[in-house]
């Protein structure tokens, strides 16, 4: 066992060297970070002065991966949002009305007159006034509008359920369609949140889906959770809706198919609007801050071809009547259509400041959040607290490391030195691996490293204690060392596998900082077994070859 083949030695040293190389950038954290940022900027075509110098702060042939610092170390904001998936159902079913109306109107001869009833949110209830017994007929017609649901589970299911309740035809969304919509809604919300945060340009945000309808958002370096919510929290739902009437009565019943919305910049002014929008923000392709002919801040927008066609058709047919530009359930303005607007572009004016118009343009460009968000968890960690934690953690690591090194040397002498070298390699390897997989280091993660420092020597201690025992019975030191490694093997394997199991469970079940702890603990177990079995053994073997001691003191 003390004979280690050359190729194995090369592999072992190679891995150690690789680990050290990968860990190296972390020793020059700010310098590498500046350099990485500058390089990223250069790649996107930025040409600001000094970028080249900043990029060359760190040579490009060296690895430049860094350990990500978690929010608790760097400061920033953390939000856990629940997407209110049910919000979408209503809009979706209400949007079917014009289609249903057109269909039934053609058949008025057969089914008689009909009317949309006021009803609870997630259905369309159509009452046949003249010929209630034709309801089944009408339902069959409406059923023709259903489309198959596109999803993995609901294959073959149709998107609507049409039922007959006395004289009423009731249209509801099918369960399969709801599930498919939930999926789409969350995916879309995720994408939009990502785009909005990217627009602001912060470093390394974490935006991931959690569970069926939740989104976790972590943005380092941002001032507060409230600020982050401002960036993502505004739904920016832009619609263009036909105006029925304008009123100052806040309690006015809007009538079926209509809704009552307040004006944004005039107190006590309300508009009754048709609920089905002519065009929505989803059909928007561009929005830019601009100024109107009076020099007031405004937002310029352009629709995609479908949006442009619909907008064009609508304006052509409704010259002289007002339509409303609605943002997040507030009417920004309700201009009268002066002429046919064929190009699909227009301008939103209102009482904006320059800043507001810029923000509005950003929000419109990033697209509308499909549904509201409820925030279940909000955390803000100030950068000072993070810096304090890093400092305290670093000091604790160094002190812990030195104390353990001294203790090991006093206990095992030369062998203690080997274990110490292995320990230092071990810590470097952990950092190397963390940088390689781009894992996030959190405060509990630092605790995990400190714990690993304490426990990493365990594998070595097991071996050394075993060698001591074998020295009492075995013939000669070489044999004792061999036996020591051989017999300590099973204990080391079992002990570390059990700890590794708990680390895996922690990783799977935990979140945030706890997960960071699980990562360092798990990596620490892998590296400490590697260093004990290969690095220390190689060191012992090399020492033994050179010295050939007749007796051994461990």
């Amino acid at each position: 066992m003390l004979q280690i083949e050359l190729w194995k030695r090369v592999v072992i040293w190679g891995l150690v060297a690789l680990g050290l190389l990968l860990a190296l950038p972390n020793a020059f954290y700010t310098r590498v970070e500046t350099s990485n940022d500058a390089r990223a900027a250069l790649e996107t075509g930025a040409t600001a002065e000094g970028l080249q110098e900043q990029a060359s702060l760190w040579p490009s042939f060296l690895p430049s991966g860094l350990v990500n610092l978690g929010l608790d170390l760097r400061g920033g904001a953390h939000l856990l949002a629940e997407v209110q998936v049910a919000d979408v159902y209503e809009t979706r079913i209400k949007a079917m009305w014009p289609e249903v109306l057109a269909l039934l109107r053609e058949e008025r001869g057969r089914i008689g007159t009909f009317r949309l009833q006021d009803s609870n949110a997630e259905e369309l209830r159509i009452r046949l006034n003249e010929k209630p017994d034709m309801a089944a007929e009408a339902a069959a017609l409406v059923r023709g509008l259903s489309r198959p649901v596109v999803s993995m589970t609901g294959a073959g299911a149709s998107d609507i359920e049409v039922t007959v309740e006395g004289p009423d035809v009731v249209i509801r969304l099918s369960e399969a369609e709801r599930l498919a919509m939930d999926q789409r809604t969350v995916a879309q919300a995720l994408e939009i949140i990502r785009r909005r945060i990217d627009e602001v340009g912060t470093r390394e945000p974490t935006i991931q889906r959690q569970g069926s309808d939740r989104i976790l958002i972590q943005v380092p370096g941002i001032g507060s959770a409230a600020e982050l919510k401002e960036i993502i929290g505004t739904t920016a739902q832009l619609t263009f809706q036909p105006v029925v009437t304008r009123t100052t009565n806040a309690d006015m019943p809007p009538g079926p198919g209509n809704e009552l919305l307040p004006a944004m910049d005039e107190d006590d002014v309300y508009y009754v609007l048709e609920e089905a929008a002519v065009v929505t923000g989803e059909e928007l392709v561009d929005a830019q801050p601009t100024f109107d002919q009076n020099g007031r801040p405004a937002v310029n927008f352009r629709f995609d071809p479908t949006g442009a066609r619909r907008f064009g058709d609508y304006t052509a047919e409704n010259i002289g009547s007002p339509f409303a530009i609605v943002l997040d359930n507030e009417v920004i303005s309700a201009p009268v259509i002066q002429s046919h607007i064929p190009g699909g572009s227009g301008i939103i004016t209102g009482n904006f400041t320059v800043e507001e118009s810029t923000n509005l343009a950003v929000l419109l460009r990033a697209g509308a959040l499909p549904a509201g968000l409820e925030f279940l968890e909000e955390r803000t960690i100030g950068p000072e607290l993070g810096a304090d934690s890093i400092e305290a953690g670093t000091v604790a690591c160094i002190v812990a490391g030195i104390a353990v090194l001294v203790f090991m040397f006093l206990s095992y002498g030369t062998f203690g030195v080997f274990a110490n070298i292995a320990l230092m390699v071990n810590v470097a390897l952990i950092f190397g691996l963390l940088s390689l997989i781009g894992a996030t280091l959190t405060l509990p993660g630092i605790a995990g490293i400190v714990l690993t420092i304490g426990m990493a020597v365990d594998a070595n201690v097991l071996v050394f204690e075993r060698i001591r025992e074998e020295l009492k019975t075995a013939r000669g030191p070489a044999r004792a060392i061999e036996l020591g490694y051989e017999k300590a093997m099973s204990a080391i394997v079992d002990a570390n596998i059990t700890t590794f199991i708990t680390a895996v469970i922690l990783y799977v079940m935990g979140s945030g900082p706890v997960r960071g702890f699980a990562i360092t603990l798990g990596l620490g177990i892998i590296t400490s077994v590697f260093t004990a079995f290969f690095v220390t053994r190689l060191l012992v073997a090399m020492w033994f070859e050179r010295r050939r001691p007749k007796t051994l003191e461990v």
Binding site: R379, T380, A396, V404, S411, P444, A447, M455, L521
Partner: protein
């Protein structure tokens, strides 16, 4: 010349009072559990919902004045504690303000937080809010559930692993030790009313891992010695195995404790509870691998010669060893 934590050769009898030790452990577990039932844990917002605000100011913290400043806002139960730590600078005065979860809200709204911050700022103009954390009741409920599942899952997985690698008696002994350690840790958190949050769950699982590590090393030696000394009574084999591994047990516990104590003193107040749990766990875990796991193994007994297929069964030499 070498530093030795225990003499080179020990032959201590760990089982002469094993009943006493098991009894003491049982009583401790009952006390810990009782404390948990009677007093309950001082749950952090992770598990209870609510908001904590950490403030820092150059002027000393005046808890009474802070309370007066925040009280008119009518936010229900508010706890204000001053935080002391040796790593703080002289002009660093830290306080933690905890606001209960508000009815009908998930996370506390930024407006509420802003109100609190404004109220405090009028009293202490130089105050800074270094962290604000808010957890809604929905999430905190789930977090408790996940935490319990995680601990149970970890113990279950370990039970299966040891059962596969050893025998069911070993698995039972090891798991009894684990449960003992977990309950005692929860007990001390309840007794001292230290804040119990998500990180403590991580610590609990680490304790599970550590305690197991220790137990497995002893058991591994027991297994080896059982093969070696087939006629020696189980009690002696156990005792010998513990004595042989004692030096290693102490070494590892001490190095781990050295590292943890460094972290406890220097690591700052944010993770102090977490580190405390681990220190306690290392001590209890070391104790339990000898006095609970092994003692229970002795009571349960083991099938001897268990690692070989019993191909001699049925013939007259069945129990004679070569």
């Amino acid at each position: 010349m070498r530093l030795r934590l225990v003499p080179e050769i020990t032959n201590w009898d760990f089982f002469s009072r094993s009943k006493l030790w098991l009894g003491i452990s049982a009583v401790m577990v009952v006390i810990a559990f009782g404390s948990f039932l009677v007093q309950g844990l001082n749950y952090g917002i992770d598990f209870r919902g609510g908001t904590t605000i950490r403030t820092e100011s150059p002027t000393p913290v005046d808890v009474g004045a802070y309370r007066d400043a925040v009280a008119p806002l009518g936010l229900g139960d508010i706890t204000i504690t001053e935080v002391f730590d040796p790593t703080f600078a002289d002009d660093q005065n830290v306080a933690m303000i905890r606001i209960q979860a508000q009815d009908g809200q998930e996370a506390v709204s930024p407006e509420t937080v802003q109100q609190v911050e404004d109220a405090l700022a009028t009293f202490a103009p130089d105050i800074r809010f270094v962290s604000v954390e808010s957890v809604g009741p929905k999430v905190s409920g789930e977090l408790i559930q996940t935490a319990i599942i995680a601990v149970v899952l970890a113990i279950g997985a370990v039970l299966v692993y040891i059962w596969l690698r050893f025998e069911w008696q070993f698995a039972l002994g090891a798991v009894a030790a684990l449960v003992h350690d977990v309950i005692l840790t929860i007990g001390i958190f309840s007794e001292l009313q230290i804040r119990f949050d998500l990180a403590i769950i991580a610590a609990l699982l680490t304790i599970v891992g550590y305690s197991l590590n220790d137990t497995v090393v002893v058991f591994d030696r027991v297994r080896e010695n059982l093969r070696k000394y087939k006629q020696t009574p189980l009690k002696e084999v156990l005792n010998q195995s513990i004595n042989e591994t004692l030096s290693r047990t102490m070494m590892t516990s001490v190095t781990t404790l050295i590292a943890l104590i460094a972290l406890f003193i220097l690591g700052g107040d944010v993770i102090r509870g977490f580190v405390f749990a681990m220190i306690w766990g290392v001590i209890v875990g070391t104790y339990s691998s000898i006095f609970v796991a092994s003692a229970l193994l002795l009571r349960l007994g083991v099938k001897r010669d268990w690692n070989k297929p019993d191909n001699t069964a049925g013939n007259q030499y069945a129990n004679i060893d070569a």
